[in-house]
């Protein structure tokens, strides 16, 4: 086993990975940018090395510098977390060339799964279902229509080089196809300098359900059940749960085995996630494979009792996965709320600043994976994820009620957060029924974001007394008047 490991990340995930490393008796090394000299991950590590720089590109994305630090500090392996260098095939390769173990899959698997078209081809060849589609150089309107009529409307036109919704058109009926095709091509050309588009069946009201897999160097590939990540805003997950309320046992097994097939086809090693789109008829289609630890891995840890980071480290060190497929037992239900520094009432705009007050929830069935502390700064240069709050219960309903209790205990002041937003989602009847899909947030945006709807008269009374105590007329001595009102309040007799 490794004696020393470098964590090439920041925020909650760097702290979470280091917790497991410490439990394994492995010395922790990390790196930090200029604004992160007293960030939590810098303080939490046994050793920390400056990267210089401020933006991600100037700091946490400097792969060569990070490898140099790993070598100089004597770290035998690098854990990349998620984001930053975690899905960078060149970095994984550079690690290997420098004799440092990359705690993740081989560079080839990262590269293949990172390309939309290649990964789709590999999965199709391996018999993994993908969203039915049609792709051909210089596809004509007739070609596209032929496919659309076979697959059924609506269909989606997508730019090969695409991203961010550009060069993308939904087509509901045959007579709209030609116009949409021309518009998508023109937009793709002007946005990406590449007008190539393809056509796919449009999956209506899809759920986003993914399978966690583990693969070691000895041909063992396990699936650890699914996570339902259908609550998204801006195409980003905000609430995840395991198991999915939409997945019956036989479907769970089928999806799991399909994910194992996908991982084998990709020559995969270490922890990975196969993402699927699921339609209302329980058909599932390969979406992509994330070749790293997921943000939402704690919900899987809750229901399996495993430590996925420990499994990652052991696999990278050449050990076997700690259990067999038949020993994987799913028990209970877990929910995760991502606590973001953002303002849901203002289009989820990020909200950097200083954490002036922090009260974190605790007690039965609650886990808080946080990267912040009271008095700390939330920098505008990095991701606004403050913490991942997860709740566990014997069943879905008790896990959700536990999460609501914990959200009420959670106070983050000084910046805006989505804590109240989470509360509203969890209390929404559609979510409570498990009947939601990825369009949930956009469909219910107004209900989910208009301030705080709870009873207010006690709040008004409390605010008034608070104001009074901080502003009451000073009638004592001249001495007292030099103090701030709050100090006076501290000294006065009524305390």
């Amino acid at each position: 086993m490794f004696k020393k490991v470098l964590v090439a990340n920041r925020g909650e995930i760097a702290v979470r990975v280091m917790r497991t490393l410490k439990e394994m008796g492995i010395r922790t090394v990390t790196v930090f940018s200029d604004p992160d000299r007293i960030a939590l991950h810098t303080l939490f590590a046994d050793e920390a090395y400056p990267l210089g720089g401020t933006t991600s590109a100037d700091s946490y994305l400097k792969g060569d510098k990070i490898i140099e630090i790993a070598r100089n500090s004597g770290a035998e392996a690098i854990h990349p977390g998620y984001g930053f260098l975690s899905e960078n095939a060149d970095f994984a390769e550079l690690c290997r060339e420098n004799g440092v173990v990359f705690i993740g899959p081989p560079a080839s698997a990262i590269r293949q799964m990172g390309d939309k078209v290649t990964s789709r081809e590999i999965m199709t060849a391996a018999g993994v279902p993908v969203v039915p589609g049609f792709d051909k150089p210089d596809m004509t309107e007739k070609d596209a229509l032929g496919f659309a009529e076979k697959a059924g409307f609506p269909v989606m036109i997508k730019a090969s080089a695409g991203g961010g919704g550009k060069g993308m058109r939904k087509v509901d009926k045959a007579e709209d196809l030609g116009k949409a095709l021309r518009a998508a091509r023109s937009e793709a050309l002007s946005s990406f300098g590449d007008g190539h588009v393809y056509v796919e069946k449009f999956v209506e009201h899809p759920r986003h359900i993914e399978i966690q897999i583990l693969a070691d160097n000895y041909g063992n590939v396990l699936y650890l059940g699914e996570r339902d990540c259908s609550i998204q805003r801006r195409h980003q997950k905000v609430i995840e749960e395991a198991p999915s309320p939409f997945v019956p046992p036989e479907m769970r097994k089928k999806m799991g085995e399909t994910a194992v097939q996908a991982a084998r086809a990709a020559g995969y090693r270490n922890a990975g996630t196969v993402e699927f789109l699921v339609d209302k008829n329980h058909n599932f289609y390969f979406l992509e494979m994330n070749t790293r630890l997921q943000v939402e891995h704690p919900v899987t840890e809750w229901i399996t009792g495993l430590d996925l980071v420990a499994e990652q480290v052991r696999i990278a060190a050449g050990e076997l996965i700690s259990l067999k497929q038949q020993d994987v037992k799913l028990q209970g239900h877990a929910v995760e709320c991502r606590i973001y520094a953002e303002d849901p009432d203002n289009n989820f705009m990020p909200s950097p600043g200083t954490i002036q007050l922090l009260r974190t929830p605790a007690g039965p069935g609650i886990r808080d994976d946080s990267g912040i502390y009271e008095g700390g700064e939330i920098s505008l240069y990095y991701d606004p994820l403050l913490s991942k709050l997860t709740a566990y219960g014997p069943d879905r309903d008790s896990a959700i009620r536990r999460m609501c209790r914990a959200l009420d205990e959670y106070i983050v002041a000084g910046i805006k957060t989505n804590i109240e937003f989470h509360h509203k989602v969890l209390n929404h009847p559609e979510f409570a029924a498990g009947d939601h899909d990825t369009t949930f947030v956009s469909r219910h945006l107004d209900e989910l974001t208009v301030g705080n709807s709870r009873e207010k008269s006690l709040a008004v009374v409390a605010a008034a007394i608070h104001y009074y105590l901080n502003n009451k007329p000073v009638i004592n001595s001249g001495q007292a008047q030099k103090c701030s009102q709050w100090k006076h309040f501290q000294r006065s007799g009524w305390l």
């Binding site: 705009m349 909200s351 950097p352 505008l380 000084g414 705080n452 709870r454 207010k456 709040a459």
Partner: protein, 161 residues
């Protein structure tokens, strides 16, 4: 003391009095509340209003009661009048940064005519781009920032006239 409390756009007048036994009487509309207050470490306050136990923290306009956030403004009507008479009236066409960030792009030049809703400046923070639009149709009078510059929340970005 008379205090005006504003929440959800509605303003209420509240009367707070300290009683001889160190408790508080609060009048709000037709209701009267009795409260006991104790200071907590780190600026918190424990209130017993009737027998309801409230743990209160306040930061700016954010009031946390038993962990639940209420956005509430409180003001002394006397002070409020003073402030209003001397308050600075920002121009309608001036746009400020709603969050700290980096100026990613400046889309127009000074002197350009723009329509209401046209993009003028793109701010970036925490992996997210945010395009700031002209609040009215007119001429870009002044752009106060340049590309690559970082700005604080509230910084004046540009003015349309």
């Amino acid at each position: 003391m008379r205090i005006s409390v504003e929440t959800n756009g509605k303003t209420m007048e509240v009367e707070v009095r300290e009683t001889a036994d160190g408790r508080f009487r609060v009048e709000l509309d037709d209701s009267e509340f009795t409260a006991d207050a104790r200071k907590l470490p780190e600026g918190g306050l424990s209130l017993m209003i009737g027998n309801d136990s409230l743990m209160v923290y306040r930061k700016g306009d954010e009031l946390y009661i038993n962990g639940i956030l209420y956005r509430i403004k409180t003001e002394d009507p006397l002070k409020k009048e003073l402030l209003q008479s001397s308050s600075f009236q920002a121009s309608e066409g001036a746009v400020t940064a709603a969050m700290p960030g980096n100026v990613k792009k400046v889309l127009v030049k000074e002197g350009t005519e723009v329509k209401k809703g046209a993009g003028v400046v793109v701010l970036e923070a925490m992996k997210m781009e945010n395009e700031l639009e002209a609040p009215l149709s007119g001429t870009v009078e002044k752009i106060h920032v340049s590309e690559g510059q970082s700005v604080e929340a509230g910084a004046l970005l540009f003015e349309i006239k």
